[in-house]
Symmetry: C2
Subunit: 147 residues, 2 copies
DNA sequence: CTTCATGCAAAACATTTGCAGCTGG
DNA sequence: CCAGCTGCAAATGTTTTGCATGAAG
């Protein structure tokens, strides 16, 4: 996956450029996030990191994720119920499609949002910085299992 | 405000119909939510209720809001940072425009979302139940104050 | 009267923080 | 070397819960 490798390289470069230290634990967290099709939770990242570095603490994972968030290298999908999810592959706002049964999160293709944003800005005078769009539903697999 | 009064009446009817008790505290919470232009937080509701019923507890406000949520009579805008906000006037999913400086929340007029939802369903096979769309930005007033 | 709601305090839980010791550069 | 990272444990802050008392119907 050259796409993910370049995301990882980009993240590492950004850390280096700003004189943050490259530790084994950090590399591991970045690797997982850069190749994150599944929008992992901190807990998921933690478990995966611990396979290679069993002494890693949850706090370190949180700190690394927070750092990446500040550098705009990961998109946080916060949920009030907790169990936030992270997208390191596409760290910019984009729509998500969330299965309320199996909790998988998918990135659908959806273009029409930019126009909406512009329209909103001119209507309200707001300076729009960002957005969040989630659709909730039941994925095809979970629909099958119910029947 | 006939609109808000009817919302309040509707909420009360729903509680009665399902044999939930009508207590003074509940009426007060419903009243505030039914007329909630400002998308109040639980804390805000709590303070307002206490003006008339000073012994009311925060737990009671939480319980009432949770009940209304289950009855689909209030829309919860959950934020992972906490301080969830509630819309009792329009208890169905709709877009919100949030000022990241003063935290006011506005309901903009935006139609084009239903078409998007239908398109998404046919593309992905998901059965779409609900959605959440928030725009974040700086409102005109806060833009002024900055300058 | 009986059941359900209230109010208090304690619990729950994800995330953050303080700090001593370790380590990358 | 030494600033900054790690790992542990304790703190945080919102929301939930258990339980005794009180009020709705």
């Amino acid at each position: 996956m050259p796409q993910n490798e370049s995301r990882l390289a980009h993240m590492l470069d950004k850390l280096k450029a700003q004189h943050f230290r490259i530790t084994p634990q950090r590399i591991e967290v970045l690797r997982i996030l850069a190749g994150s099709d599944g929008h992992p939770s901190v807990e998921t990242i933690y478990e995966e990191v611990r396979r290679d570095f069993p002494t890693t603490s949850l706090a370190t994972v949180y700190k690394t994720v927070t750092l990446l968030k500040e550098l705009n290298e990961v998109l946080e999908l916060g949920f009030p119920e907790g169990g936030n999810r992270y997208d390191g592959a596409r760290p910019y706002p984009h729509p998500h499609l969330i299965c309320t049964t199996c909790h998988r999160i998918i990135d659908p293709d959806l273009e029409s949002l930019e126009g909406v944003t512009r329209e909103l800005a001119s209507e309200t005078g707001f300076q729009i910085i960002s957005h969040r769009l989630d659709f909730f539903g039941i994925c095809p697999e979970c629909q099958e299992k119910k029947n």
